[in-house]
């Protein structure tokens, strides 16, 4: 029974093919992010194109009110026809910040993957890497989110909103924050793993 179990293939094992797949995915995600968040806004700036930005406003639909149907704020795409250099810069800056976070996070994941693939999962460097990753998710993501909100807010300054009142909506990116806490927890598990590895090193 035990032999059968040890001989059976672990289908959940993170193999070399998985590592190559994840590495390729990271490269793709980073490339798309650079194109969408940095190159796109820079090209729009150079070509003097208008900027489209989401805008949330309360709506009143009497027909729905009378029918007793509930609805919430509506999201519009606002066209900022002639954005200023400052507005372009704010948008590009926000994109650069997101891309920087993504790149640093990807490099950390790639190094973790390489270390785990080499059989050194519990080396001390991985604890540091995981803590950096947790920090990026816990602190970096909300900061970039707030910077993005300010950049979008700056765009609204000169936009014609058709008399619609803007709705203030401040929300934190909870998913990355929770993910960051989980990564911090895993980092703590790696601290114990690294201590065990230190103990076992030199065991004959």
């Amino acid at each position: 029974m035990g032999q059968q179990r040890s001989q059976s293939k672990d289908r959940l094992a993170f193999t070399r093919a998985d590592r190559i797949g994840l590495g390729t995915l990271l490269i793709l995600v980073n490339s798309v992010a650079i194109a969408a968040w940095v190159i796109g806004p820079v090209l729009a700036w150079v070509r003097r194109e208008p900027i489209w930005t989401p805008f949330i406003s309360e709506v009143k639909v009497p027909a729905l009110d009378s029918a007793g149907v509930s609805y919430s704020a509506a999201t519009y795409d606002v066209r900022v026809a002639q954005p200023t250099a400052g507005q372009h810069l704010a948008l590009v800056g926000s994109g650069v910040l997101w891309v920087a976070l993504l790149l640093v996070g990807s490099v950390i994941v790639a190094r973790l993957m390489s270390s785990i693939g080499a059989g050194n999962a519990f080396e001390r460097a991985n604890v540091t890497r995981l803590r950096w990753l947790a920090g990026l998710l816990l602190v970096g993501t909300p900061v970039a989110h707030v910077v993005d909100l300010f950049a979008r807010g700056a765009l609204m300054g000169g936009a014609d909103l058709g008399g619609l009142p803007p709705t203030a909506s401040i929300s934190l990116p909870w998913l990355p924050i929770v993910a960051g806490l989980i990564v911090a927890l895993i980092a703590q598990a790696f601290v114990a793993g690294a201590a065990l590895r230190d103990d076992v090193e030199g065991l004959v």
Partner: protein, 76 residues
């Protein structure tokens, strides 16, 4: 990083092997431990030894644990 605890255990595997005209590789083969690991033990670089490894080495070399390991006296 835990503090490296110095120890005063000295392994006399070298002498035991020489007395029996045996090589480290042959011992490793009989004990079922890699030559690298036995070399670590022989050169006093091991931090810990499994009881199973000690038993196997003593069985093959027909010696006691005291013959294999000794505690170096404290320098005064």
């Amino acid at each position: 990083m835990p503090v490296e605890e110095p120890h005063r255990i000295v392994c006399r595997l070298d002498e035991l092997l020489e007395a029996r005209g045996m090589t480290l590789a042959a011992l490793a083969d009989e004990v079922g431990v890699t030559v690298v690991n036995l070399s670590v033990l022989k050169n006093n670089r091991a931090k810990a030894v499994r009881f199973s490894t000690l038993t196997a080495i003593c069985d093959v070399l027909e010696c006691t644990v005291g013959d294999l390991l000794e505690v170096r006296p404290l320098r005064t």
